[in-house]
């Protein structure tokens, strides 16, 4: 980019934004896509209704920091976990209820599965070594124990299994199993985050040693993806499962999951060149497009095949710490460590 052709960032023309007063821990859209939420380090949740996006609602949810945010099972609303041990449900109008409380322990990860036709929704949270599983009504189904603290939590695309990363590997649990014994995916070292491919066959973890590790479930093949200058904090598969996008380098690192997987192949890199660390990635819910956010506040959207970049937000609002697409892929939300939060409408006009 030369100085004379400054990119036309979309933040002002397509977005609404606020300077909130705390670290943006996470952002999400509810399942209707009508409301966005920003979870903050001061325990508050800021709700933005897209039909009235100038008026944001602040809800005090946790007494301490919010640590995790996910869309609720129900069509609207959110679920959040905090360092006050609370697992709470927040409706899109700001009404709030307790799902569970874990006392002194932190609720560090939250994941949800929508279910089908209003049935079979699931909610999971990680507290220390345990994953707690709840049904749609908030009733507790089971508690799953791991050999060490859980560092990442994800449902597969069909809600059949839930996977947790931890020290020396990951555990994969069948949600409906009568006897709870996980499939243990073992690899020495500290695993710090997790993703499952849309077809459910690949489990990928981020590792303390600036690398990714993967297991192909169908044949037990291990996958090692290394070369990152920093730890990967964000992993996202494209909807078609062809690419795994990852943070931790000065570009978006995309591993190919076609034709036998990433083994022996070089990753594709997009949105690089500025010498700034990528902190967050989020693949578009339908297209082969990835949103990427950086340590200087830059947010871009990149088309994977062509590598073409659309600039979304300029540097300057602090390291980006949260990034999410709406379910239809028309809206993008992001937030930063400095408390900057924005929602952009990227739909065709």
């Amino acid at each position: 980019m030369s100085a004379t052709t400054a990119p036309n960032f979309l933040l002002d023309t397509r977005g609404v934004h606020r300077a909130l007063d705390a670290f943006v821990v996470g952002c999400a859209f509810d399942r209707t896509g009508r409301t966005a939420a920003f979870a903050l380090g001061d325990g508050a949740l800021h709700l933005v209704k897209l039909s009235d996006r100038e008026n944001w609602t602040r809800v005090a949810v946790h007494d301490g920091a919010t640590l995790a945010l996910a869309p609720d099972i129900a069509p609207s609303g959110f679920v959040s976990g905090g360092d006050d041990g609370g697992l709470r449900r927040i409706g899109s109008d700001g009404e709030m209820g307790d799902i569970s409380s874990f006392g002194m322990k932190w609720v560090e990860h939250v994941a949800s599965f929508a279910g089908e036709k209003g049935k079979g929704g699931l909610l999971a949270c990680a507290v220390g070594k345990h994953v707690h599983l709840f049904d749609q009504s908030g009733a507790k189904l089971k508690q799953l124990e791991h050999p060490s603290s859980v560092t990442g939590l994800v449902f597969d695309a069909r809600g059949k299994r839930v996977a947790a990363s931890h020290y020396n590997g990951a555990s994969l649990w069948f949600v409906a199993a009568k006897t709870d014994s996980p499939r243990r995916l073992e690899w020495k070292g500290s695993h710090t985050g997790i993703a499952i491919s849309p077809d459910g066959d690949n489990v990928i973890t981020a590792m303390q040693e600036n690398a990714l590790h993967g297991w192909r479930l169908s044949d037990g093949q291990h996958m090692r993806m290394s070369g990152y200058p920093a730890k990967t904090h964000s992993l996202s598969f494209t909807r078609n499962g062809k690419w795994l996008a990852s943070s931790g380098a000065e570009s978006v690192v995309l591993w190919p999951f076609t034709g036998g997987g990433p083994m022996g192949k070089a990753p594709t890199e997009v949105a690089g060149g500025d010498g700034v660390q990528c902190t967050r990635v989020a693949c578009h819910p339908t297209q082969e497009i990835v949103a990427a956010a950086f340590n200087d506040g830059l947010v871009v959207v990149a088309e994977i095949a062509s590598g073409r970049i659309a600039p979304i937000a300029p540097p300057g609002h602090g390291p980006v710490s949260a990034l999410a697409w709406s379910p239809d892929g028309a809206q993008l939300a992001f937030g930063t460590e400095a408390g900057f939060a924005a929602v952009l409408d990227l739909s065709g006009r």
Partner: protein, 326 residues
Amino acid sequence: MAESSQTAEQVPVTVLTGYLGAGKTTLLNRILSENHGKKYAVVINEFGELGVDNDLVVDSDEEVFEMNNGCVCCTVRGDLIRIVGGLMKRRDKFDGIIIETTGLANPAPVAQTFFVDDTVRAKTRLDAIVTVVDAKHLPQRLEDSHEAEDQIAFADVILLNKTDLVTPQELEEVERRIRAINRFAVIHRTERASLPIAQVLDQGAFDLQRVLQREPAFLTDDEHEHSDEITSVSFEVEKPIDPERFNAWIGLLLADKGPDLLRTKGILAYANDDRRFAFQAVHMIADGDFIGPWKEGEPRISRIVFIGRNLNRPQLRRGFESCQAA
């Protein structure tokens, strides 16, 4: 970036070690209840003992993880990496972090966490390791456990507590034993862990700028050098150091003897450089950077300190001397 200081934004972390019953919890309660106008996040592992109501108390299970980086003694506290990350999200709510370790804990994984993890390094700085020891029972602890010795060896500040339970002669003897292990730590004699908090917190002991600032006059006694007891030795040379020779020597030494070398610290005068180079290591994990220039007229003497087991004094001395520029 190497010269710029980020310390203003980095949260100071104090690690509190000590055997069960030595007085750690008493000290912690003092820190939390005294009116010093500061707020601390506290990471503990035995919640029941802490009598103070503090909404920033984090209950944690110590999770010591091995690193896959080819370093046999490199372990980190996985739980601390997670907790520090979580606490940073509410950064504006506290002035420092205090980590209490269990009585039997080896301090190395805690210290190494602050060298190894990038996020922890960027957001926090290890301020000091504070070890509380019981004047009456320390001799027995040193007989029956490695950990008691390790905790003293790693300490920057030692509270020699429960001095009211021993005679002056016993106190002298126990202090002599501490000095034989670690002659560089600051020792405070206390009853019921009572001392001004400023003597424990904000010590800057791991700050490269202050690596050897507190070093006492060089001692020449060579007692207590048998086999697996921890001792400390230091050397100085007057001729400038050749950086390449030093790096080659220290790299090999840490790789070879890392498990025995608990802490290594040095201030070096490199040939043709007006800045002081500060170096420190915990086992094999090392860190070094240029700090401020030598003062006008100050003798440019390079010094290095080792605290560890099986220290071969003549060999270490010859090694360090061989790093002098030709």
